[in-house]
């Protein structure tokens, strides 16, 4: 189903773009101006792309499913790259306003591409984690896990009188359970800390008393779960953050694009 849909969408997009390219070359060969035509097409496309966010805000309206809108959003957005190239005649502008506009467009386009790649790859990585977690509940789950780990270690120290595991926990593991991961992990999640902690826990387990060994096994599971929670937090944050950035760039892009169009007419004439 998805392959058929992709083929259809790609075909339609290429056909429309081919028509547009043909029109611009036809106009140029007739010594006509194409910048207004391509500018209007580009502006209309950007307005259409921005409309998708409005669609999301009004889900009760009968104006097509979000899935259909996203498909249209993706292919129209990809098509704007060619229209943009035709509009600027394949040269990056130099004026302050035009440069700002081109930068805003490029940033929005690139953030969209990155978002598309992430939204197609991250879900499958999250699905491989054993547990499915709701983003808003992660802090609560972390806190519960931290309490459980601490309680298990304290109880073992109390009941066995042995402090080896307790000292190791307070020195190496308490911070892991208590603190959230840094920005570096959020930008590039990895399992280095998990592997290191599990290795250290394995190393220290040879010095533990039998009751501590039991708690140590629990800690193994808790470290894995905490790392899974952190992975979910980082990946889900990434999926939300890019959208925030993408939408955040859209509004200045629209505003500057409108200003650019107004100024183009003002100083360039040729109001249609």
């Amino acid at each position: 189903m998805f392959i058929r849909r992709r083929l259809y969408s790609v075909g339609l997009t290429l056909a429309v773009l081919a028509l547009l390219v043909y029109w611009t070359y036809y106009q140029k060969s007739a010594l006509g101006r194409v910048s207004f035509g391509t500018g209007y097409v580009l502006l209309a496309a950007i307005f259409f792309l921005a409309l998708y966010n409005i669609h999301k805000k009004l889900p009760t309206l009968p104006w097509g499913s979000s899935s259909d809108w996203l498909q249209a959003h993706i292919y129209v957005a990809l098509g704007t790259a060619l229209v943009f190239g035709l509009h600027v005649d394949w040269r990056f502008p130099t004026g302050i306003l035009d440069l700002t506009l081109a930068t805003l467009y490029s940033a929005t386009f690139l953030s969209g591409i990155v978002g598309l790649v992430w939204s197609r790859t991250i879900p499958a990585r999250l699905a491989r984690v054993s547990e499915e977690v709701i983003y808003e509940r992660i802090p609560m789950l972390r806190s519960q896990l931290c309490d459980r780990a601490q309680e298990a270690v304290l109880e073992t120290v109390r009941s066995s009188g042995s402090t080896t595991l307790g000292e190791f926990y307070s020195r190496r593991m308490h911070g892991f359970f208590e603190r959230t991961r840094g920005l570096g992990y959020f930008l590039r999640p990895n399992n280095r800390l998990r592997r290191r902690l599990l290795a250290e826990l394995t190393e220290v387990s040879r010095y533990l008393s039998p009751p501590e060994q039991v708690t140590c096994e629990q800690l193994f599971a808790m470290v894995r779960r905490r790392d899974d929670l952190d992975f979910h937090a980082a990946m889900q944050w990434r999926l939300k953050a890019w959208l925030f950035l993408h939408i955040g760039l859209t509004y200045p892009l629209l505003a500057v694009a409108c200003l650019h169009g107004l100024l183009a007419h003002w100083f360039g004439g040729g109001l249609l």
């Binding site: 889900p59 879900p123 499958a124």
Partner: protein
């Protein structure tokens, strides 16, 4: 300082009686006729007296000649007793137009847009919290709504031309099947002349049956008999059978029931105890009631009348689920045909076990050979055999594309009961929560599901009402607040009559009903005057029946990750999983 609490009276079971016209004298009259005359009032507790049941859970309906009493395919929650006149049961399907079915009207663009802006900011706000006195005062209006404008058949002789029908006389009961099994009406019933009927809502019928053995046996016998011929006629192999042979088959058909009618009560504990090692899962399969065993000689054809059955095949030391059969499906067709052609019993290729509650009909081999095979063409026999051969091991049709572990998962968790289950493909879901926001926007800012649930690999069945084939949540509701929509079959909760007893939430085997504290329009939590505790209401997915787009969650998913699906339809599931 804004008010934080408001005192109100918690609604009670009979605040809204079924009919407002039931006077004491009417009840006296009812107690003079059968079956109520034979009922011993002493068997009813003081809190639930017989008179009160008759007064509050019944109503007297008058029909003119041709008036449609129930329509085939509609969902009903009441049974009917013929008091005067006659009722005609039409055994053949009538046109939708003749039955007065109108296309549903959906709100337009502007109305859909404005409804979202009217949503309150606080959760679970009720624009008007009805007090008990208001509910009682509004009774006549409620009853008027319930009665509705009736539909009449015009030119009855022409409409019923070439259709078979059965006439019911005073004292006879009908409609009990749909009322008790939470299933659609199997036939259309018309008034034959001026007719007076007593309509008994199913909560009342249930209470009457619990305390009256004779009535219970009578209803059960009707339940068994009334739908038998309809069911046999709907079976492909028997659909073209001459009437006299069908009658002979009906006479010889055996009724069998497996499992518990209220299976949900034991499901939670058994599922949690069996969800573990594969060895325990095997024990769970073995513990299921056996309808037919693999390897045993074929003794006849099994028709599933209601409920679900697991089709399994021995594999190693366990049982591998091959498919599940639901209402209308047959088991053992290839074997009965094989037995007939080879003149010796063919062993069953699979085992059939009841899941929850299952009702089956068994037609003995000898009856098939005497009345069916001689009257069925070889072509029809081949067609029917091919159509029902999906569980043959050599077949690789659409059902075979659903992997066995997924089938096992759906069966173990009883998700096969779901007609509108919410499936989430976690390989595509970006966890954007657009589905939740859309659901909230449609329900006064209150999401009616949780994007979380049981997982099988990357497939998740979220906690959203599945509008089950057998909605066991309806069983214990004392007021009938939870019920099926008459035409769509969607399970809905009538908020004003919900008394917040949480019976439905506890009965739901899938934990898909939430009890919530409600607020009035000022935002104050509504407190029960007598207990000083917050008043709760049951809430759940209503499938956005009033939205032109259908379920908002599905249409709001940008990545085609979420779908509402009938899990009884393995072909549809297979197509979605392998898309």
């Amino acid at each position: 300082m804004p008010q934080t609490e408001i005192i109100a009276n918690r609604p009670q079971r009979w605040d809204v009686p079924f009919g407002d016209a039931m006077r004491d004298s009417d009840v006296d009259q009812l107690l003079q006729i059968e079956p109520f005359r034979s009922i011993d009032p002493e068997r009813f507790p003081s809190a639930l007296p017989l008179r009160a049941i008759l007064k509050n859970d019944t109503r007297v309906n008058h029909y003119q000649d041709g008036g449609i009493i129930v329509r085939e395919g509609d969902y009903g929650s009441s049974a009917f007793l013929v008091v005067q006149g006659k009722a005609r049961v039409v055994l053949a399907g009538l046109d939708e137009e003749v039955l007065g079915r109108q296309p549903e009207s959906k709100p337009g663009f502007l109305k859909s847009m404005f409804r979202q802006w009217r949503n309150p900011r606080l959760p679970e706000v009720r624009s008007h919290v009805a007090s008990r006195s208001e509910l009682i005062g509004n009774d006549s209006q409620q009853v008027a709504d319930l009665a509705q404008t009736r539909v009449f058949l015009q030119d009855i002789p022409r409409v019923l031309e070439n259709t078979r029908s059965v006439v019911l006389h005073p004292g006879e009961i009908f409609g009990e099947l749909a009322a008790l099994t939470r299933s659609p009406r199997t036939a259309t019933v018309l008034a034959d002349g001026e007719t007076v009927l007593l309509e008994i809502r199913w909560q009342g019928l249930r209470d009457l049956m619990r305390r009256t053995d004779a009535l219970r046996r009578h209803i059960e016998r009707l339940y068994r008999e009334n739908s038998l011929r309809v069911h046999l006629r709907e079976t492909p192999l028997l659909s073209h059978l001459p009437a006299e042979h069908l009658e002979a088959v009906a006479e010889a058909t055996l009724f069998e029931t497996y499992g518990d009618f209220q299976w949900h009560e034991t499901f939670h504990s058994s599922s949690s105890s069996h969800s573990g090692s594969s060895g325990k899962a095997t024990d769970a399969v073995v513990a299921e009631p056996l309808i037919a065993e693999e390897g045993s000689p074929c003794e006849g054809l099994v028709l599933v009348r209601s409920g679900f059955a697991r089709l399994s095949h021995g594999f190693g030391h366990g049982h591998r689920t091959v498919a599940y059969l639901g209402k209308g499906q047959v088991f053992g067709l290839a074997e009965v045909i094989g037995t007939s052609t080879k003149n010796e019993p063919v062993p069953m290729s699979h085992s059939l076990r009841g899941l929850g509650y299952v009702d089956v009909l068994r037609i003995p081999q000898a009856v098939l050979e005497k009345h069916v095979f001689p009257n069925v063409s070889q072509q029809l026999l081949d067609e029917v055999a091919a159509e029902h051969a999906f569980f043959r091991p050599e077949h690789h049709g659409s059902q075979a594309q659903v992997e066995t572990p997924l089938l096992e998962f759906l069966v173990e968790q009883r998700f096969i009961n779901g007609q509108q289950a919410m499936l989430v493909d976690l390989d595509r879901c970006t966890r954007c929560d657009d589905c939740i926001r859309a659901c909230a926007a449609t329900h006064d800012n209150n999401p009616r599901f949780i994007r979380h649930g049981f997982r099988h690999g990357s497939l998740m069945v979220a906690h959203a009402c599945m509008h089950c084939v057998d909605p066991v949540c309806m069983i214990g509701c004392p007021t009938g607040a939870i019920g099926r929509d008459r035409t769509t079959g969607v399970v809905q909760i009538n908020d004003p009559t919900c008394i917040g007893c949480s019976t439905c939430a506890e009965s739901c085997p899938y934990d898909n009903i939430r009890m919530v504290e409600i607020r009035d329009s000022s935002g104050a939590i509504v407190i029960d005057d007598s207990t000083k505790q917050p008043i709760h209401k049951a809430t759940k997915c209503d499938l956005c029946t009033d939205l032109p787009t259908g379920p908002a969650c599905q249409s709001a998913c940008p990545h085609d990750a979420l779908v509402r699906m009938d899990l009884g339809n393995l072909g549809e599931l297979s197509e979605w999983v392998n898309r």
